[in-house]
């Protein structure tokens, strides 16, 4: 086993542990955690037993096993970036909508504004610019 194989296995084990901790903190759903575990276990297998994949390299017309791993990694990363980007946009839109609704609902019918929800009372002497 070469040094790069050991490094990849150590990386996958560390990431699996991090995934487990994240799952325990309930920042990941069980299905999401299972998906990430599958990725890390797959990485361990590919690193420890690279010959297992040699049979698929030929039919896929990929020159080397490392190229296949790189292509799969790029596909996975592109998917993750796309999903994250769309989720951030969605959250951003919902935040804007929430803040705007708070602003509109915080005004009383007589035209006087109530303190909006979440608004911290500031000391004007400290914040005046």
């Amino acid at each position: 086993m070469t040094g790069i194989q050991l490094l990849a296995i150590a990386f996958a084990v560390a990431m699996a542990f991090w995934t487990y901790r994240t799952y325990r903190r309930r920042d990941l759903l069980a299905a999401e955690a299972a998906l990430w575990f599958a990725v890390w276990i797959g990485l361990v297998f590919v690193s420890a037993f690279p010959d297992l994949l040699r049979n698929v390299v030929g039919p896929l017309k990929v020159a080397r096993l490392l190229d296949l791993v790189m292509i799969l990694a790029i596909l996975l990363l592109s998917t993750i970036v796309f999903v994250l980007n769309s989720r951030v946009r969605h959250m951003e839109r919902r935040t804007v909508e929430l803040v705007r609704r708070l602003a509109l609902s915080a005004e009383e019918p007589d035209g006087n504004s109530k303190q909006p929800v979440g608004q911290v009372q500031r000391d004007p002497a400290k914040t005046a610019e």
């Binding site: 803040v99 602003a103 005004e107 035209g111 979440g118 004007p124």
Partner: protein, 233 residues
Amino acid sequence: MNPDRTPRHHRVGVVVPARNEADRIGHVLAGIASTVEGLPVLCLVVDDGSSDRTAEIAREHGARVFTHVINLGKGAAMKTGCAAGLAADCDVLVLMDADGQHRASDLPAIVAPILSGEADLVLGRRRFTGDMPATARLGNWGLTRLFSLMFGATYGDTQCGLRAFTSDAYHKVDWLATDYAVETEMLVRAARARLRTSEVEIDTIYHDVYKGTTMLDGLRILGQMIRLRMSGG
């Protein structure tokens, strides 16, 4: 005032998006008359996450104030102000910057084409000379020319913040942009909806500390123009 043109309109809502403008908002609001062309004026200030006394000072000057608890951007603040104006039965909406760049004395000229039925959307057109900072002059000139090339509609100033439109026109130009790209998006939507547009030359005042569109905002606006063009603008 032409008596023929008032029955169709009830109230003018002047929407002023503001962020950390405690030094100038009072002066801006004090300059706005209680009536424009015979119609009552309602000042609607949207405090977009200010950390100073902007909201308090605006209230002291009789404006209705709507507070964004966090900063969302000029486009979002304008949208909140317009929604508040519609809810308050304003059927003519005017957008005005809070930094004192626009003169309240231009308000009658801005709303006149709407009240006379000549236009659905009226744009202020600044003079690209004199006191306007050189970078702002170059940026505005470039974006205005690019807008003509990309969308085929020619305006004298695509980035001016002083604008007026009817409540019907607002529903047609209702924008998604939350930042300074809002002015451009509004024009693209107006062109798509074939709104009758008019331009009025206005005076602008530039203060020592320029707080308007930066070069980075200019790049964002350019990106928004490309995105709108690709989506069929």
